[in-house]
């Protein structure tokens, strides 16, 4: 073990509850805005602005929010696909050691990358059309040292069977498969190295409804079978309700509410969560016109409003909300809210499960 690695483990030696796989503290990612001939920095896009959450082993955390709220940036920072500006991402390795992902150098990240994998949004864009399934799914194996061709094709066959595809299709190219089947290929590839954490960035939003259900069921089955932990990034609240144990809601770079799924949907405590829930069209013509659309647009993360970022669109905003940003506080066991007025507000969620 190198000295730096030991150092990074030292910084991460404060205890983490044993059920936790990952802890993110005050994660920030700013992108500079450059202007002029000398490309001087004139501002910052605060994509992720102090995000704190944790992932327990074997659970699914849904991360929801509107486009531009920083959910994808957060997920990419977890895998160190982009370098976070500041903050801490503590991860418990398979051998029980804690590491701070943000402190690791590229070569130290390599072994970690086997444990953390990603499923991308668009299966039409994330598969190379010139590679057949054996190459696509086998590539992570090859990169990580499974050089024997026979061994590799056996493993690929196993993986394809695991995700419900026939191993005979191994020599075919992605164009021969439908959207749902392609997403299965992407999932097989993500599972090739037996990961422990899978970050799924909108894995079903590009699929048709009838196929969406198949892929969601597959993800649930695989989680049970392989004891996977999911970070499930999505904008579709019904999908998130379906698959998540807990849900975190993001708004302009910050988490505004995080709680167990049913609690969040039935009794939201943040006005933004409630507004988001009421905006979902209910698939029942007898329950109409409950939609109370939020006024205005999502503010730009390069110039967010003062205080609570949600105050210009919030019906309950006070002067305090305009001046001071609320902290994310645990108001009930496992229920975190960032709102000054959460105690006095009585917000309604969706109706009970039908």
């Amino acid at each position: 073990m190198s000295a730096e690695l030991a150092q990074s483990k030292l910084t991460a030696n404060t205890p983490m509850p044993p059920e936790r796989l990952l802890e993110v503290k005050e994660l920030k990612k700013y992108f500079p805005i450059r202007k002029g001939f000398f490309k001087s920095v004139v501002g910052q896009v605060r994509s992720v602005d102090g995000v704190t959450f944790h992932l327990n082993q074997g659970e699914t955390l849904g991360l929801v929010g509107e486009s531009g709220c920083g959910k994808t940036t957060t997920s990419r920072c977890l895998l160190h696909a982009i370098n976070p500006t500041s903050g801490e991402i503590r991860y418990r390795q398979a051998d029980g050691q804690l590491v701070d992902v943000t402190q690791l150098a590229t070569d130290q990240l390599r072994p970690l990358r086997r444990e953390m994998q990603m499923i991308f949004q668009d299966p039409f864009a994330s598969l190379n059309p010139r590679m057949n399934l054996l190459d696509l799914v086998g590539e992570p194996l090859l990169v990580n040292g499974v050089a024997n061709r026979k061994e590799r094709s056996d493993r690929v066959a196993d993986l394809l069977r695991l995700v419900g595809l026939r191993p005979e299709y191994m020599r075919r190219f992605p164009h021969a498969f439908s959207g749902g089947q392609r997403q299965r290929i992407v999932i097989a590839r993500a599972l090739a190295l037996n990961p422990r954490l899978v970050v799924a960035d909108e894995p079903v939003s590009a699929l048709d409804v009838s196929v969406q259900a198949q892929v969601l069921n597959l993800l649930l089955d695989l989680q049970e079978q392989l004891k996977l932990t999911y970070l499930f990034v999505a904008h579709d609240l019904s999908v998130v309700r379906h698959i998540s144990d807990r849900v975190a809601v993001m708004y302009v770079g910050r988490i505004v509410e995080m709680s167990p799924t049913d609690e969040l949907f039935l009794a939201p405590k943040h006005p933004y969560t409630a507004a988001l829930l009421s905006a979902v069209p209910v698939a029942d013509p007898r329950i109409r016109s409950k939609m109370q659309p939020l006024e205005g647009d999502v503010p730009s993360p390069s110039d967010p409003p003062s205080g609570c970022h949600f105050h210009p669109r919030c019906a309950f905003a006070t002067d305090l909300c305009r001046q001071q940003a609320p902290d994310l506080e645990e108001v009930q066991p496992n229920h975190f809210v960032a709102c000054h007025r959460q105690a006095e507000l009585a917000l309604t969620g969706v109706s009970e499960p039908i």
Binding site: A213, N217, H242, I243, S244, S278, A279, V282, A283, V298
Partner: protein, 343 residues
């Protein structure tokens, strides 16, 4: 008057003649649109919903063509009397008559407003172009109409929005401007092709309530195309469910959601996750995937994925036709015939 449809589509067939074979993208579709009502067309990708409305607008380009059927529209400017219906299929392509219709009496809200607006012309420019095409007005008057329309669809500061470019607006504003543009000439029929798929839920809610408000104020008929059953349930009066170019079921929205008759409609409704489902429960799915359009098929298009297919291969050998099962609802399925026979 209200009982007479504004648009009648009968047995529409649109085919694409490709080197690999003929794709029947729309294969015998019939529906009516009544004035002041919203017709929702639902279906998965590739079911022919977009081709259907492109056929109505006569925007099908080679190698595609309308092979058969009638699209009768009650036009005010082309028809001699209000009772007469014009068959759009028989109007010559690129004719002045069609141009007079498009954007004037039939308007389209496309799926991607970013792609639909020109990035090098201002919003105002593009709105005024439509007005000049269809109305004999001066520049000042056209500008006034355009500003009123933008105000109507809830664009803040419409005067300054006129001078801006589409890429300067946010997704929701852009879609509003698009709706404003579609409404400039007070169309009789508004066709919305998945107008909310590219935007967020909160913006979607804004756009939907705007559409509903405008529809009630102007008594415009809307054909709303989407794959989101929630949106259909909230907006539509009547629903057409399509699968592989055919109408599987059609009827009033309440019947479709609460008394679906076709196995495909039932399966589709079961398989959508909703915010009301218990978390971490398995969803009932439709097995298999949508067949490839080149695949030759006889019989019902849904048979391979249908759980209720009849014995003795009847569903795969013979194609059912769309039949009215009561005053409002029509279904294309043998199951229903069987039930009638039993009775």
């Amino acid at each position: 008057m209200t009982n007479q449809p504004l648009l009648e589509v009968r047995d529409l067939q649109t085919v694409f003649e490709l080197d690999e074979g003929i794709v029947k993208a729309v294969d015998g579709v019939s529906f009516d649109v009544y004035s002041g009502k919203v017709l929702g067309i639902v279906g998965e990708s590739g079911c022919g919903k977009s081709v259907t409305i492109k056929s109505v607008l006569r925007l099908i380009e080679k190698p595609g063509r309308i092979a058969n059927g009638a699209i009768r529209f009650r036009s005010k400017i082309l028809g001699n009397s209000s009772a007469e219906m014009i068959d759009l299929v028989h109007l010559p392509a690129k004719s002045a008559q069609l141009r007079a219709l498009r954007g004037n009496e039939i308007a389209l809200i496309p799926q991607e407003p970013m792609a639909a607006f020109s990035p090098v012309h201002t919003i105002g420019n593009q709105l005024m172009e439509v007005i000049h095409l269809h109305q004999q007005v001066s520049d000042d008057e056209a500008k006034k109409i355009a500003v009123t329309r933008l105000k109507e669809v809830g664009v803040p500061n419409p005067e300054s929005a006129m001078d801006r470019y589409s890429w300067e607006l946010s997704g929701g504003l852009r879609q509003r401007a698009m709706i404003g543009m579609a409404l400039t000439c007070n169309p009789l029929l508004l066709i919305a092709d998945e107008p909310t798929t590219a935007i967020d839920v909160t913006t979607q809610a804004q756009v939907l309530s705007l559409l509903r408000k405008l529809q009630q104020e102007h008594q415009t008929s809307i054909i709303f195309i989407t794959h989101d059953l929630g949106v259909i349930a909230q907006l539509a009066d009547d629903v057409v469910v399509m699968y592989l170019g055919k109408v599987m079921e059609s009827g009033p929205v309440d019947q479709i959601f609460h008394n679906p008759q076709h196995p495909y409609t039932r399966a589709l409704l079961r398989s959508i996750p909703t915010v009301h489902t218990k978390n971490r429960s398995r969803l009932p799915t439709i097995s298999g995937s949508i067949p490839h359009p080149f695949q030759k098929r006889t019989g019902c298009p849904f048979v391979a994925r249908c759980q209720e297919a009849l014995p003795q291969q009847r569903c795969s050998n013979q194609a059912p036709v769309l039949k009215a099962i009561n005053e409002h609802q029509s279904v294309s399925c043998f199951l229903h015939e069987e039930e009638v026979n039993v009775c």
